[in-house]
């Protein structure tokens, strides 16, 4: 009775079906891009800008962080969960990165304080000296003066380290840039020697302080902290969902608010803006639309996103962990029956997703170089939309990296394309909404027919 089912036949079928999925995703992306290119040419004629390398570069670089975070969201959604905190979590991570940069975190750790803190302390102790003078209290005056002297020495010590660092940097850039650097260095040296004088000024020009570079380890440490924050947030999400048995929707709704609050705490309810000298060039380079070297074509951030997507696709397909994620999302009882460690796998899913959110935060920080804790609100819906447009099912067990990637690209292209065509903002939103509904409806119909 068994029907003929030779091995080769089924293997061929499978590669055919995955090729089909790839083709479908590509076709959708190409269609959307072609549509905008054609409409653009029809409207603007020879001035059409959509189908230019420059435009495609800029669209891609604006969406690199969405792709990375959407891949994390995909993992969560395949496992049958949802992460409403992802957007705010990303902003929190970016805020932590910005904080680490602004506070010169490496220097702060090795020296116990950073230069601005030392400067602030000197200023405060100078004020106490003045109060003591006005009170004519000689004992107190002596004490506060000794304190000021101490602070002055400390600041001079820290400043000297920084100036030394700045001097040690090999000169590069154009002639005018080098000249500017030399003049800045001279200003700093002057300020340093002024501070060193026992009766010198008790304040340092904040502009000069903003020129100070961070310690070599600071950027790395800041990035590490940002990514680590993502993983910790993911861990918290996982623990709440697995051990407290709160459904993912509610659990992450709660942590969304917690992460927003934490971000505002870190940023002191403002936006953290590290100075230009504090953010190293190689971080900003991630978001340069035109990469250096030019043969990369797309920005380094975009390549980072693509590599991450590739790795995740392999994890989902070729690892035991990936299979278990699908098993849990498709039927958790079956997973238990098969001896899969469901709690551990679920927590790993949320931690991994948090890691990706952290990396997405690096990319988004590279573009803005600021940390604004409230900038992530609503972003999670974009991540979810990318997954869903790409055929992911919110009931779990279904979804592909290539689909999520296509979903993110389609949303990005529509957003940028509408702007380029001069479409009003409200029209863009309606278009995006229709795309989401139509994409999922088509997918449902296809599923039903199969």
């Amino acid at each position: 009775m068994p029907e003929p089912s030779p091995n080769r036949h089924s293997l061929a079928r499978r590669s055919l079906s995955s090729a089909l999925a790839l083709a479908r995703a590509l076709a959708a992306v190409v269609c959307v891009i072609a549509l905008f290119a054609i409409v653009d040419v029809a409207i603007h004629g020879a001035n059409a800008k959509f189908w230019t390398l420059q435009n495609l570069q800029s669209i891609s670089v604006q969406n690199d962080f969405i792709v990375i975070a959407a891949v994390g969201m995909l993992l969560v959604i395949i496992a049958g969960g949802i992460d409403l905190s992802a957007g705010v979590m990303m902003a929190l991570c970016a805020t932590v990165i910005a904080w680490g940069m602004r506070e010169d975190i490496g220097f702060l750790i090795t020296h116990g304080e950073n230069v601005p803190q030392a400067a602030r302390r000197m200023k405060i102790s100078a004020e106490t000296v003045r109060t003591a003078e006005s009170k004519n209290d000689s004992a107190q005056l002596q004490q506060t003066k000794a304190q000021l002297d101490h602070e002055r020495k400390r600041l001079a010590e820290l400043l000297a380290i920084k100036v030394e660092q700045l001097e040690a940097q090999s000169p590069h850039g154009s002639q005018s840039q080098r000249a500017q650097r030399t003049s800045r260095l001279d200003d700093l040296k002057k300020a340093l020697s002024a501070v060193r004088e026992p009766d010198g000024p008790t304040e340092v020009d904040p502009y000069l302080l903003s020129l100070l570079p961070n310690a070599a380890g600071s950027p790395w440490l800041a990035l590490l902290m940002g990514v680590g924050t993502g993983m910790l947030c993911g861990l918290l999400n996982g623990v709440i969902i697995v051990f407290l048995r709160v459904v993912p929707f509610i659990g992450t709704l709660g942590t969304m608010m917690i992460y927003l609050g934490l971000g505002q705490f870190v940023a002191d309810e403002t936006t953290i803006r590290p100075t230009g000298a504090q953010v190293p060039g190689w971080i900003e380079e991630l978001s340069f639309a035109r990469p250096d070297p030019a043969w990369l074509v797309l920005s380094k951030g975009v390549w980072l996103a693509l590599v991450i997507a590739g790795i995740m696709a392999c994890i989902l397909r070729y690892t035991v962990f990936g299979r278990y994620v699908f098993a849990i999302g498709s039927n958790e009882s079956t997973a238990r029956l098969c001896g899969i460690n469901v709690p551990a796998t679920k927590i790993a899913v949320y931690v991994l997703s948090g890691l990706l959110v952290g990396i997405a935060a690096v990319c988004s920080f590279a573009a803005t170089t600021t940390g604004d804790p409230s900038s992530g609100m609503g972003l999670e819906l974009k991540f979810i939309a990318a997954v869903v447009i790409g055929g992911g099912s919110l009931s779990g067990g279904r979804g592909t990296v290539i689909g999520a990637l296509a979903g993110a690209i389609i949303m990005g292209v529509i957003g940028a394309g509408c702007t380029l065509l001069g479409m009003r903002n409200w029209l863009q939103y309606i278009t995006l909404g229709v795309i989401i509904v139509v994409a999922v409806a088509i997918d449902q119909l296809r599923q039903k027919r199969e």
């Binding site: 091995n7 690892t319 039927n331 098969c338 001896g339």
Partner: protein, 499 residues
């Protein structure tokens, strides 16, 4: 006196089934699992459209496009699993979908009168209409379903194995209600495979086998043996193939194992090459016994030892120690329906194909292919989603998983439920072969004949306790049934209302 007649002729699942139900009469539709009863139900209720053939109701063509239309036409279904909104009240449930309204506003008074009348026709006039139905026993919930059918002026009521989750007391109440409705002139179709029940309540019968109707007659004028031979359609030998096997040394010792509700202090030993059957009523704790052996449910006390090892109380540890389980419910537990045959077959044992967590898919699919051929799983290949397979084939995938993981002790929970007779025979043979190969099997089933035919020893459970284990030859069917209901009714009722 109105005549209700229906005729069908669908292709695969149903091959030209025909029967007629007359008003004032209870017609039994008898057939084994997989005989086509559930498909027939779906056609009757409008969930499926027949490919061929036609149905008539009261002399007019009857072709419902969905359950609602069927109900409007006067055909109501009472399914095995009840279809109630647990949080709504008795009244709301009875009137669900047929609320009496005036200008869009629910007319409570008129509705209440209808609900009250329907209940009193069933002999439950005193029931509080405002009670949420989740607080009622299963038996009373069924009464609510029947009342709903009456409230919609049903002329035909179809019962699909209505007694499977009822206590004996509730069964008698149900029968009283059915007789009453018959005497009021309704046509009743009663689907079951319990001959004893059919003898009690039905007037005529129709036997379904392999999607076709193979015989009919009056219940009074036919012997049980005649009906059974119609149902089975083949000799007992073909149905229950025997594979000779020998019990060896003790493999597993279970000492007073207790779960949250069931089992209660279950103790037994299982030998190599032995098939141990577990019989009992629904809700007796048979599934819970298997689940606690695999530590799927929390274990309160007791020991499970396999030889020298006492594995930790996690499914993972128990699986590694050599236990494997086939769940009674393929949809909600047994299989990940969306995933492929290969995935489902190997989830419990991916180790042979993985290195540092990375899988060799080619090797895995090749291994899956050999299993597909070895127990002839009817599939297009390892990558076909399980949801596309028939019930029997899905069951083979679930069994193949336990075989693939090289389990020494197989826990099979209703492994032949809802699958066709041919596949059943294959599964019995497979179980015998496993025992012959030195594995041990615990076989839970509600179908006593298959337990009697396949098992070496048979244990009976009731209200969570494993009552007695004897060699099969020392049991008679009557003794098993008596043992299964041996405890006082009050406690059994309590267990049922929790189920």
């Amino acid at each position: 006196m109105e005549n209700v007649s229906k005729r069908f002729g669908a292709t695969q699942a149903l091959r030209g089934v025909e029967f007629e139900a007359r008003s004032g009469e209870v017609l039994a539709l008898i057939g084994e699992n997989g005989a086509g009863k559930s498909t027939l139900m779906k056609v009757l209720s409008g969930a499926h459209q027949p490919d061929e053939g036609k149905m008539e109701l009261l002399g007019r063509p009857y072709a419902p496009s969905g359950p609602y239309q069927a109900r409007l036409a006067g055909v109501a279904m009472i399914y095995q699993e009840l279809n109630l909104a647990p949080h709504l009240t008795v009244e709301d449930n009875i009137l669900l979908g047929q609320e009496r309204t005036k200008l869009g506003i629910v007319n409570r008074g008129a509705g209440r009168a209808i609900a009250r009348e329907a209940l009193s026709r069933l002999g439950h006039a005193g029931l509080d209409l405002r009670l949420p139905v989740e607080r009622l026993s299963v038996g009373l919930q069924q009464v609510i379903e029947i009342a709903r059918a009456l409230a919609s002026h049903a002329k035909v009521i179809v019962f699909d194995e209505p007694t499977s989750s009822l206590t004996r007391h509730d069964v008698q109440q149900l029968f009283t209600a059915i007789r009453k409705l018959r005497n009021e002139g309704l046509a009743i179709v009663y689907i079951s495979h319990f001959l004893e029940e059919i003898r009690q309540i039905c007037d005529r019968f129709r036997v379904l086998r392999d999607g076709a109707s193979v015989g009919e007659g009056t219940v009074a004028g036919t012997t049980d043996a005649q009906i059974v031979s119609l149902m089975v359609g083949r000799s007992i030998k073909e149905l229950f193939p025997q594979v000779p096997h020998q019990s060896g040394d003790v493999m597993m010792t279970v000492e007073s194992l207790s779960g949250r509700r069931a089992p209660r202090e279950a103790s037994f030993q299982l030998r190599r090459g032995e098939i141990l059957g577990i019989a009992g009523l629904v809700g007796a704790g048979r599934t819970e016994l298997l689940r606690s052996l695999l530590a799927l449910d929390p274990i309160r006390s007791g020991k499970v030892r396999l030889g020298a090892i006492a594995p930790a109380a996690t499914p993972r540890a128990r699986l590694r120690a050599g236990l494997g389980m086939v769940s009674e419910d393929r949809k909600t537990e047994g299989l990940a329906q969306e995933r492929s045959v290969a995935d489902n077959l190997t989830y419990s044992y991916l180790r042979p194909y993985s290195r540092f967590g990375w899988l060799n898919l080619r090797r895995r699919d090749a291994a899956v292919q050999t299993w597909i051929e070895r127990i002839s799983i009817k599939t297009r290949g390892p990558s076909q989603p399980v949801r596309e397979l028939s019930g029997g084939t899905q069951q083979k995938v679930a069994l193949a998983r336990v075989l693939h993981q090289e389990a020494d002790i197989l826990l099979l929970d209703e492994p032949t439920r809802g699958i066709d007779v041919g596949t059943k025979a294959e599964i019995y043979r497979l179980i015998g072969e496993l025992a012959a190969a030195g594995k041990a099997v615990i076989f839970v089933s509600s179908y006593l004949p298959e337990l009697m035919a396949s098992c070496d020893r048979l244990g009976v459970m009731s209200r969570g306790r494993l009552r007695e284990i004897r060699p099969v030859s020392k049991w008679t069917e009557e003794e098993v049934l008596a043992c299964a209901v041996s405890e006082d009714q009050a406690e059994a009722d309590e267990i049922n209302s929790h189920a």
